[in-house]
């Protein structure tokens, strides 16, 4: 257990419907929708919120300091505020920050907002700037890579190919139950395997979309949580594991930050068998090949057991260990919001009111992850009971 000055609860969750096109609203209006939704969900009065933590991807919409601009519509007027931008993990890091700000006693209520209006920018422009201008920038290809797929194919052969496709189908099945998801498509394993190759064995249907969306979560002190109507979801722990930024030092084929984050989190929280003790897992899966490998890393499966589990349907909403009942990142990816959506969805599952994609059991513990453009991991643990109980 990590040391907490005091307990922190999630008492409100708000999301937009994530869409490929939102020409009807501007960035500020998109964020407003999520803020309006979280105020409605929590019944919190905006004037009682102490601090806003706001984040999205650097450079994606070409707007400098959007946190300042968005005061026009995110309710931050006159409040304390921070901007967080840590690549793909942005949404997850916002949650870490909001958790710290309440746990420390500094604020009683912090509103965390992650958002992206990806149709307005050029994703690759932002991402290419992470690479060294002399050695890497002219060569790298942005977000699309087949390295994990190649590694999995080398290790496990055709069953891996089938499992990656089957996991994509499961995400689509789940997304169709989640009306906020962007891609709610009806696909078969055959469709996935027949879709266009991007970087073998990565195919178009394995890859996440570019979405527009925002997600806001209200974090409050225990005292305040008792006064608010929603069942509180308690923050238990979070672990961030970084790797160096440059490609030569990142083990791209066999990413090691996920496993390290899981080892630390499990050790600190007495988790010996994650699939028994954790009820649901919202994993940041930018593409299904990564999902296939990362399930193994997070769940400590050393011999590719996840392949058979996928083919058995063990990760389905009503399966042994539900993963991404929301449909995951391959179904909705407004990047700056993507990782905070994982936390929101994990919390909804604990609250038990996720809607049609609610898992059919009581969830005591839930995990969620963020994955960054610079190859790092944020892993959260949330619970129905207070962490010190």
């Amino acid at each position: 257990m990590t040391k907490r000055m005091r307990n922190v609860a999630i008492s409100g969750i708000g999301q937009t419907r994530h869409r490929g096109h939102r020409e009807d609203v501007n960035m500020v209006e998109l964020v407003s929708e999520a803020v309006e939704a979280v105020l409605e969900d929590s019944k919190m009065d905006l004037k009682d919120i102490d601090c806003i933590v706001h984040g999205n991807m650097e450079l994606f919409e070409g707007v400098h300091q959007p946190d300042m601009w968005h005061v026009l519509g995110d309710g931050a007027y006159g409040k304390a505020g921070f901007r967080i931008t840590t690549g793909g993990t942005t949404g997850a890091t916002i949650v870490c920050s909001a958790d710290h700000l309440v746990a420390s006693g500094m604020y009683d209520s912090v509103l965390a907002i992650g958002w992206e209006k990806q149709e307005e920018g050029m994703t690759t422009t932002g991402i290419t700037n992470m690479a060294d201008p002399l050695w890497e920038r002219e060569i790298q290809t942005g977000a699309i890579t087949g390295t994990h797929g190649v590694m999995m194919m080398n290790k496990f052969g055709e069953p891996a190919n089938q499992a990656a496709a089957e996991f994509r189908v499961l995400m689509a099945d789940n997304a169709r139950k989640n009306y906020k998801a962007h891609l709610r498509i009806e696909i078969t394993r055959k469709d996935v395997l027949a879709s266009r190759v991007l970087a073998w064995p990565l195919r178009l249907l394995h890859m996440c979309p570019e979405s527009n969306g925002a997600c806001a979560i209200l974090f409050v002190s225990e005292k305040l949580a008792k006064k608010l109507p929603q069942k509180p979801v308690w923050m238990h722990d979070h672990v961030t594991v970084h790797r160096q930024e440059t490609f030569d030092l990142v083990n791209m084929g066999d990413l090691d930050t996920h496993g390290e984050a899981a080892r630390v989190l499990y050790a600190r929280n007495g988790i010996l068998d994650p699939m028994k003790q954790v009820g649901v897992f919202e994993m940041y899966d930018p593409q299904s090949w990564w999902a296939l490998d990362w399930l193994g890393k997070f769940l400590m499966l050393e011999n590719g057991e996840q392949i058979e589990m996928i083919l058995n349907g063990d990760f389905a909403i009503d399966g042994k260990f539900p993963v991404n009942p929301s449909g995951g990142v391959v179904s909705s990816n407004p990047i700056g919001a993507t990782a905070i959506i994982r936390v929101a969805e994990a919390a909804l599952q604990i609250r038990g009111n996720a809607g049609e994609h609610q898992v059919p059991k009581d969830v005591n513990l839930a995990m969620s992850t963020g994955f960054g453009g610079t190859f790092w991991t944020v892993l959260h643990l949330l619970g129905a009971e207070k962490p010190d109980k």
């Binding site: 519509g73 149709e119 307005e120 700037n129």
Partner: protein, 160 residues
């Protein structure tokens, strides 16, 4: 010792790479504010957004009152005349601005103008360097076939 205009880049051992970062973007105004942009283009009208709760009229318009978070649904016409509230005189040309933005020849005045009926100030420019705070100004509209629903549909403001 070197200064910013004498970097030692002619020294063959100090390799430097020169790049240009291009950030393509599309910006959607949103349905509500699109009406104000289209009014500039089609009707030569400046619209502000009026908060029903506090009566504040935002120019440029916006769909939320920043103070009370209430949704704004009413657009009202403001100006076209206004009063100069803040100024700064521009005496230089900037290479990239000139390349990518429309620009007046220096010297010209950048001004915050409170249009009649507005609660907030609009940023625009006024030719010349003889403008004072409190001067009354009016828009100089771009020709009918040049307006494209942008703030530059008003080429500049000029003294009444």
């Amino acid at each position: 010792m070197y200064t910013t205009d004498k970097l030692p880049l002619d020294q063959k051992d100090c390799f430097g790479k020169f790049g240009l970062m291009s950030i393509p973007y599309r910006y959607f105004a949103g349905l509500f504010l699109s009406e104000a942009m289209i009014a500039l283009r089609d009707d030569k009208k400046i619209l502000g957004a009026k908060c029903e709760k506090c009566d504040k009229v935002y120019v440029p318009p916006r769909s939320r009152c920043e103070k009370d978070f209430s949704k704004i649904t009413e657009l009202v016409e403001v100006g076209p005349e206004g009063t100069v509230e803040e100024i700064t005189v521009v005496n230089y040309e900037e290479e990239y601005f000139k390349k990518f933005c429309s620009m007046l020849d220096p010297p010209y005045t950048m001004a915050l103008i409170k249009l009649d009926g507005a609660s907030t100030k609009l940023l625009h420019r006024i030719p010349g360097d003889k403008i004072k705070r409190g001067d009354r100004v009016k828009p100089k509209w771009a020709a009918d076939d040049k307006r494209e629903a942008m703030i530059t549909d008003i080429e500049y403001f000029e003294k009444v």
